[in-house]
């Protein structure tokens, strides 16, 4: 009967509308109770964590993580990726199936679960392929994948290109109440592109990926979702036009959710002027107007959640010419710092909305029993120092890769203790 008492922190749990200084009591890996705000002790515990001055939140959930295993263990493994996750305050990640082989069979799902259990660091929820072998031709065995534990479906890395297949996927997934996580891109429009199409790409002579490539596909998928009543989740929304389309769809009652990535509300395409491949990702960094629209979307709830699109690539792969270097940026270990710095410290959103976007809603979208501190819930808890100012040092990252353009940045806000199933899995040294 191991008990853990988290004392005197600012408990922020949007699932119960709680935001007050209080204690949280954990027993045998479950939340037992939150105090009543009256300062009355919740009882004795085997271990006590002093959380004064810290935010105590339901464990953060990143619903968009590339763990690279199986197949690209030189970039990341389930072990290193989950280590990076807890260091960033995440107690759960959803891994994206563009692995080699792709996650499109019960056996691969089982492999991920086994590896995650062996790593024993944070929860790994499996997103499986929409299409067999991620080829975009025929549906994967979605029902069997659901039985194996897949929580959502995605061909991310690429869109589900065939509109009819996308329609069928949305329709078919309805009976399992699983969302399709969609990479929204019309490939012909972005072909040959390495960055946002705009003045900067024009001046640098680099191939551009127009905002329209994303907007056209979001428009298509919203229409398909509305005709099928299937659940669509737009991944890594990067354009003002995409935000507007989703806002309108939600007003009509469409079953659409969306995520945005910290880099897309932090950096613009101006960053590419140094030709550094660490700024190359898909969708690409856009403009200041897009940043404003994404933040507005996070403020009004058009964008439900923050996800990282953590995309590790080994150093030698990124040290190539800009058009040969792969797309992708690390996210797990900078997400809290960037989000607090860009959204909370600037007064655009409060802590309850941040925790909702990084825990409650991603858990709800994935349909996983996380993202809450209700009595009886799994004791996944993240303690965040809201005022800690820290310097990003990629050399100290737990990720196997170092492709972060934020090296040397000073950020505000950092997870200091990450508790998974009642056990402390990370403590800021």
């Amino acid at each position: 009967m191991a008990t853990l008492l988290i004392r005197g922190g600012r408990v922020v749990d949007p699932s119960q509308n709680i935001d007050r200084i209080d204690d949280v009591l954990v027993r045998d890996g479950q939340v037992v109770a939150i105090g009543h705000g009256d300062g009355q002790p919740l009882g004795k515990a085997d271990e006590t964590i002093d959380a004064a001055g810290l935010v105590v939140a339901p464990g953060l959930v990143d619903m968009h993580v590339h763990l690279r295993e199986p197949g690209r263990e030189e970039d990341e493994t389930i072990e290193t990726g989950t280590q990076a996750a807890v260091a960033g305050g995440f107690t759960s990640v959803a891994c994206i199936p563009n692995t080699e082989p792709p996650i499109d069979t019960q056996a691969t799902v089982e492999f991920i679960h086994q590896k995650a259990a062996r790593a024993d660091t944070c929860n790994v929820f499996v997103v499986a392929c929409v299409s067999r072998n991620r080829e975009g031709k025929e549906l994967a065995d979605i029902g069997q994948l659901v039985e194996a534990g897949a929580v959502a479906f995605s061909d991310d890395g690429a869109p589900v290109y065939d509109a009819e297949l996308m329609r069928r996927a949305l329709e078919y997934c309805r009976m399992f109440d699983k969302p399709i996580l969609a990479h929204e891109e019309v490939l012909e429009l972005s072909r040959g592109g390495v960055m946002n199409e705009g003045l900067v790409s024009l001046v640098l002579g680099l191939g551009g990926m127009p905002a329209a490539a994303e907007e056209v596909m979001i428009g298509r998928d919203i229409a398909l979702s509305e005709v099928t009543r299937g659940r669509l989740h737009a991944m890594h929304v990067s354009t003002a036009g995409g935000v507007a389309l989703i806002r309108e769809a939600k007003k009509r009652g469409a079953r659409v959710t969306a995520e945005a990535c910290p880099h897309h509300f932090t950096l613009t395409d101006e960053s590419l002027r140094g030709f550094d491949s660490n700024f190359k990702m898909s969708p690409p960094l856009r403009t200041q107007a897009d940043i404003e629209a994404i933040i507005d979307g996070l403020v009004d709830g058009t964008i439900d959640c923050i996800a990282t699109d953590h995309a590790p690539h080994a150093r030698e792969k990124k040290m190539l010419e800009l058009d040969r270097a792969p797309f992708g940026i690390l996210g797990l270990e900078t997400a809290v710092g960037l989000s607090v710095t860009r959204l909370v410290a600037t007064g655009r959103i409060g802590w309850p909305r941040l925790i909702e976007a990084m825990s409650t809603l991603p858990a709800q979208i994935l349909g996983i029993n996380r993202g809450t501190l209700r009595p009886g819930a799994v004791a996944d808890i993240t303690l965040i120092d809201p005022n800690l100012s820290w310097r990003v040092d990629v050399a100290s990252f737990r990720s196997k890769s170092v492709n972060s353009p934020f090296d040397g940045w000073t950020l505000q806000g950092r997870a200091v203790t990450t508790i998974v199933g009642g056990r402390v899995k990370y403590r800021l040294p």
Partner: protein, 338 residues
């Protein structure tokens, strides 16, 4: 004629760069220094025919990842005219075809004790990347559609030779602006020297966004020809286009080729440039290419002068104590990330 002082003379103090990566990052004064130095070398070598010894003991490598005959020959000749040794590194025959990264290849060359790399590559920014990884000088001989600074300089040099001061001069760049590194280097160099730049071609090759940096955009060649003092006719870069930006070559030539009829409506003293290789009959008809206003062949000769200037300024002897030279390892002009 000889210039006895040149062999002893050091690179001017105000020249801070070890690399020439692009013209966008240079100040107007730095561009003037480059052009003035080119004039100096052109005179000192009897029109680039005589040899000097100002770069004796210097080794220059031409590292071309993209095919080129004229630019590479021009750089090699310019280096030899200054007394430098030139080594050609043929990228296709190297270990690159065995999968070695281009940075590793360049580092290997550097370890052999060379002084400068003249690099051409299909990807924008590759010279900038090399400059970050190598301690030798890096000279951009064309990075994809980004910049071709020595071509821009020699075009501007050729114009300046005829017209003197460039301020108030109107230069039309016609054709495939989207894929042209020559266009970008011309745009920056000309604007910094006070010229008015018009880019002209179909909207699929000429973005309206050029207006945002002060360039005039036109899709009507007939409308701009009478206003131009100089027309620079850029080659259609068929090899760089993912999709065809116009219906047919025939239609393109109909709308944008510089013909004798169009020449009739131009100013009498209009100068015509073409960076070559030209597609005769597409950008320019044969009789215009060979007309008296055409600077096409003097461009080629001036290319030597400009490249001598660039090699000397980036590799030449530094004043007094080279170690204390303030800009020795300075990359700040291209490190533009905040």
């Amino acid at each position: 004629m000889t210039m006895p002082t040149l062999d002893q003379q050091a690179v001017p103090l105000h020249w801070r760069h070890r690399h020439l990566l692009d013209l966008e990052g240079l100040t107007p004064d730095e561009i003037r220094t480059l052009l003035d130095t080119a004039t100096l070398f052109k005179e000192a070598t009897d029109g680039c025919r005589r040899k000097l010894s100002v770069l004796n003991g210097t080794t220059v490598v031409t590292l071309f990842f993209e095919n080129s005959t004229r630019t590479k020959t021009s750089f090699a000749l310019a280096a030899r005219r200054l007394g430098a040794d030139v080594v050609d590194f043929s990228a296709s025959s190297s270990s690159l075809s065995k999968g070695e990264s281009f940075i590793d290849t360049a580092k290997n060359l550097e370890a052999m004790g060379i002084d400068a790399v003249v690099v051409r590559h299909v990807t924008p920014g590759t010279p900038h990347l090399l400059a970050q990884h190598l301690s030798v000088g890096v000279i951009n001989a064309g990075d994809g559609p980004h910049e071709h600074p020595t071509q821009g300089l020699l075009d501007i040099f050729s114009i300046r030779e005829r017209l003197g001061d460039l301020s108030g001069v109107t230069v039309g760049l016609v054709g495939d602006i989207a894929h042209s590194r020559t266009a970008r280097s011309n745009i920056w160099g000309l604007m910094k020297l006070g010229a008015k730049v018009i880019v002209c071609g179909p909207p699929t090759l000429v973005s309206d966004r050029w207006r945002e940096i002060g360039v005039e955009v036109s899709h009507d060649l007939d409308a701009i020809v009478p206003r131009c003092d100089v027309l620079n006719l850029l080659r259609i870069q068929f090899e760089r286009q993912n999709t065809r930006p116009f219906p047919s070559v025939r239609e393109y030539a109909h709308l944008y080729a510089m013909t004798r009829e169009r020449l009739k409506r131009a100013k009498k003293e209009l100068l015509i440039l073409a960076p070559g290789p030209i597609n005769r009959g597409v950008e320019v008809t044969a009789e215009v290419a060979d007309c008296p206003q055409s600077l096409i062949l003097s461009q080629v000769a001036n290319g030597l002068a400009v490249r001598m200037a660039v090699l000397w300024l980036t590799c030449g002897p530094r004043p007094a104590d080279a170690a204390s030279w303030p800009g020795r390892d300075d990359n700040s002009h291209h490190a533009r990330i905040n």
